[in-house]
Symmetry: D2
Subunit: 338 residues, 4 copies
């Protein structure tokens, strides 16, 4: 950590900061420049969230040097994490697809989606049973009935089930049915929930919050890992920017960045990021070219009848075409697709 003192900091003010840092256990390097004195603090303490140095007199700025996350970092583990679940390896050579409707609406709808997905190489089925909706007047999901239908679809197709858990209270129920738990974007910093899923022995898809920096996203993963669950799959799903033509701005650069900073697998959800089905095929291709380990895509047997987010769902035909194109890109990237 580096502490930059103000232009006219007095010797006493500098001394006070030095003493404070030494007390916490840092070794100090002092460097007096022409215009600023800089205090370097050396030690292995990761978090300084509890030390309010910037409130001390004449402290201009505190610059952290170490990354604030540890378990999620490449420094902690150099090689890629490969998550093994239900016979699949996520984060390895094979690119895996999660597909299905936004929300589970009925047995018929889900079975049809699952069967189409299965037929073109998808390995995991998505579908919300508990739906976080901006409006209290919108469809909120079939809840337990939705979970049961998902389990039925797994039975019928062999697809693994990925579904969202919204709250600690319903976690045991969701965990009973799901193969992989999903933490939604709005819950990325629901720290109670993160601590609870950390105790469950299932992989977690952790969506990036729409206003979360990459660092905050990795810190959220750290919450889950520090609690004992190392099987975290990061999912980029768009961030908020001023551009409103698309629902959010898909930050694809986050894929190679996270791959560089962390050993965790990264997938991309272009459907929620963009919000318009027309652009999902192109951006699915781009995501794989950027190095993603998989995709989560919304597909609905009949998007115009969807109870949720139909405008961003691919029709079965469009989906089949995308899957075929994706296989070619995967080949160029030296990766396999089932």
């Amino acid at each position: 950590m580096i502490v930059v003192m103000r232009h006219k900091a007095t010797d006493d003010e500098i001394e006070a900061v030095v003493l404070r840092l030494e007390k916490i256990g840092f070794q100090i390097h002092l460097s007096r420049g022409v215009e600023r004195t800089i205090i370097g603090a050396i030690g292995d303490k990761i978090s300084l969230g509890d030390v309010s140095l910037e409130a001390m007199p004449s402290v201009e700025r505190v610059v952290p040097i170490l990354q604030p996350y540890k378990l999620a970092s490449r420094t902690f583990q150099e090689e890629d994490t490969v998550i093994r679940v239900g016979g699949l390896e996520i984060g390895g050579d094979t690119i895996h697809m999660i597909a299905g409707p936004c929300a589970v609406e009925s047995r018929e709808q889900l079975m049809e989606a699952a069967s189409i997905a299965r037929s073109c190489g998808v390995t995991m089925l998505r579908g919300g049973a508990f739906k976080p909706r901006t409006s209290p007047y919108s469809f909120q999901g079939l809840e337990e009935e939705g979970l049961r239908l998902l389990a039925e679809a797994r039975e019928a197709t062999g697809l693994l089930i990925v579904t969202e858990v919204m709250d600690a209270k319903t976690l045991p129920l969701v965990a009973e049915y799901a193969d992989i738990l999903q933490i939604g974007a709005r819950n990325m910093q629901n720290f109670f929930l993160l601590r609870e899923v950390a105790k469950v022995d299932k992989p977690v898809v952790l969506k990036r919050g729409p206003s979360a920096t990459i660092e905050e996203w990795l810190m959220a993963a750290e919450y889950i890992m520090v609690g004992g669950n190392y099987n975290v799959i990061l999912c980029e799903r768009g961030i908020r920017s001023f551009e409103s033509y698309t629902r959010n701005t898909l930050d694809l650069t986050a894929v190679p960045v996270v791959k560089h900073l962390s050993h965790l697998p990264v997938i991309v959800d272009p459907s929620h990021a963009i919000g318009k089905w027309r652009y999902i095929p192109a951006m699915s291709m781009a995501a794989i070219a950027a190095g993603a380990d998989g995709l989560m895509i919304e597909m609905h047997p009949n998007p115009a009848e969807a109870l949720c987010d139909g405008q961003q769902s691919l029709t079965p035909n469009n989906f089949i075409n995308v899957m075929s194109d994706l296989k070619k890109i995967a080949g160029v990237m030296g990766r396999k697709m089932p």
Copy 2:
């Protein structure tokens, strides 16, 4: 609602949309322009979240006409909501101040803060017992012990207690001690939690999420109101923008905007928005001048020793000065301060 059809939409495609809308119960006005056909749908259905019109062929855009929130709107209730709690009226003529440390750290710290606050006209004490922290390695709050200290401070000073509830599980505990519940910015769209606080008979301070539009914020209030709790106090606390000199960008314009769109009281938390104590006095003044009904300000007996956010806490001296200046502005605005 207005549906704009694409340039070359066929008669069949237009007819399909019309039929769909009529089936839901809308009355239809069709208007064929030179380049676009526009379908106006008239009816009192507020939410169309469940109708995926944009997935229908040749639909270019759907433009909602009515506000998606109802109970929170001025259309529903013209006059200002005044919330009565513990002898105070929030949202009326009197401007109320919530002050105190970011986190409850110890009896000594809290009592000192409470007594300073009390002495200069503050009516409500803040202090986090459960702290949402970006890092799992940071101080997470004293939990129940913190709540007990808050109750003790109320006993000693008469100040009402405002404290954050982070999760449905701990809600009964927090509600036992708090006079006013606070929903933190990161939980603004934690819909499970919103539904739960809706059932509690205590006012709720609802902080705006850092990436929430004003409309989404009002929709979050709607969740609480539709569940039966009409005592919602909206709190602007900064939004995420590209400017990183301040922690967030305080969107003060949200104050008159919300006052225009809604009847609910609005307060401002400049401390979390800005993150640097130096600018809190000026922006507190500005908030009252913009029409806020109150402020939530962090003040700590010794910010440099704070376990949380010391850099944004005012010292007692600075706080006393701000309070004295605020009273003058309140006078100009035709409002009282205790």
Copy 3:
């Protein structure tokens, strides 16, 4: 255009808006709903920038229906624009690469960059002679001497020259040397400059401004086209968001969006968007997979000695590897690379 009137608009207020619109030449459809009256205005007037309807009493909102750009839209021209310059076709089957250093620094530097670029299939050389720099204390470019060196490099390699023009005053000079003019991101809405390049018979690379919406970007293209120059190449180069790990946020979704809305060619500049060389190869691949017609990439014989933006420049070796990978992706996309 749709005008939404406020809840309690009077008949006189509605009538006033109707009369105003009829006077301008619109045909009117009035539709009185339960809660709002809506006025549909039909006509072929594109711009309403000069009609301040929202300042009329009880007007709640004005919703434009037609796109505000005309010449740049697919409605005006359905088929893709292919720009022919110096034997190349930009926007056709072939993907073209623009590469070279951020700034022209010396004959040696430029010749080396040009010769490496040439050897691996690049067709256009970039290099700034006039450099827009955030700081007045930074290197501002070699100016005319830089232009002369670019011409020399063209002579030696056959590469076309793409270079930035910053101002109407220096436009004649730059146009004398350049094959393709570049309008930098900060000048995207320098309307004087747009009007001037519209008069020059050279293609223009129009970079998207860091805070420009896609619509504003197309409006800037419209300025050039309406002035007579139809050879506009749009270049996505990142937008400002709260994420600060990368210099800007590369909005790759803009590629398929612009391809859908407009007939103009679109290229991508990952170097300026991201600002860190390490992530340029992955995002170059992604850009081609998203459907871009070409790339503009910074490459420097020795990035660590660069006078400008060395941190985002590829070394010759890294660049050669990227070019080889890009050819494979181009193949999958059904496109050629020279």
Copy 4:
């Protein structure tokens, strides 16, 4: 400047950076921590824009310590700059108002606006003769005729004239008529134009770009100051964020921040920031309470007939009321209004 080396940087890589920095003239402090080696570089060189350290092997991050602007900083000049022009002092005890229509449209319109402004204590008249418009199909201003009308209004009322200069070519013409030159938000980083206005002996209102950080804004001021013109008035006018209810997000906190970092006067333009007249009065009050030295407000004799931005213009009546309220706030702030 601090250079942070990567985790596994070799001694040779560290040595190379040290040699490079010493060669430029820095004195070096090396500090080897447990996980990172940090190189402190001490010297008075402000700009490192020309040194591409981050392109050197194993350099993780470069952290600048000194502010990149010098003349604009409080370090260079401690006391506030007071700009004297036409008998006024801007940046002193007196708060000055700039008011008038967005664009000069006709003699009648301008004279009426000027006379109302004059009557309630405004000291400067605004009005665009050259208008930067997003659409080439919108009204672009009366150009020289507009300037002549402004001069006439000055003659008639004694108000000083503030008007925008869009381009170096028209600068001599504009400077002939204007008392104060305005650089528009879109031109904040038009460095050619900044260098040209630096040579003119007139004060400059420098609007903040919609995507400019406070630091970039001060760097733009530095361009003007380094060219010899120290009379720069900074004008906050909103930044781009995801919130689209208002045109831009007024970043009022920039006022106390700039006052802390710089000695230059700061004014606020709520009209362009917000884009809706209804919220201008509240935010004008807030701006003065935040410490602004003045305001620039749009007022039009008949906003509904305005050729430009009528929706954000105050009517004469609303304007007169605001002026009266502002005087009360100014009093509380210990400042005068004419």
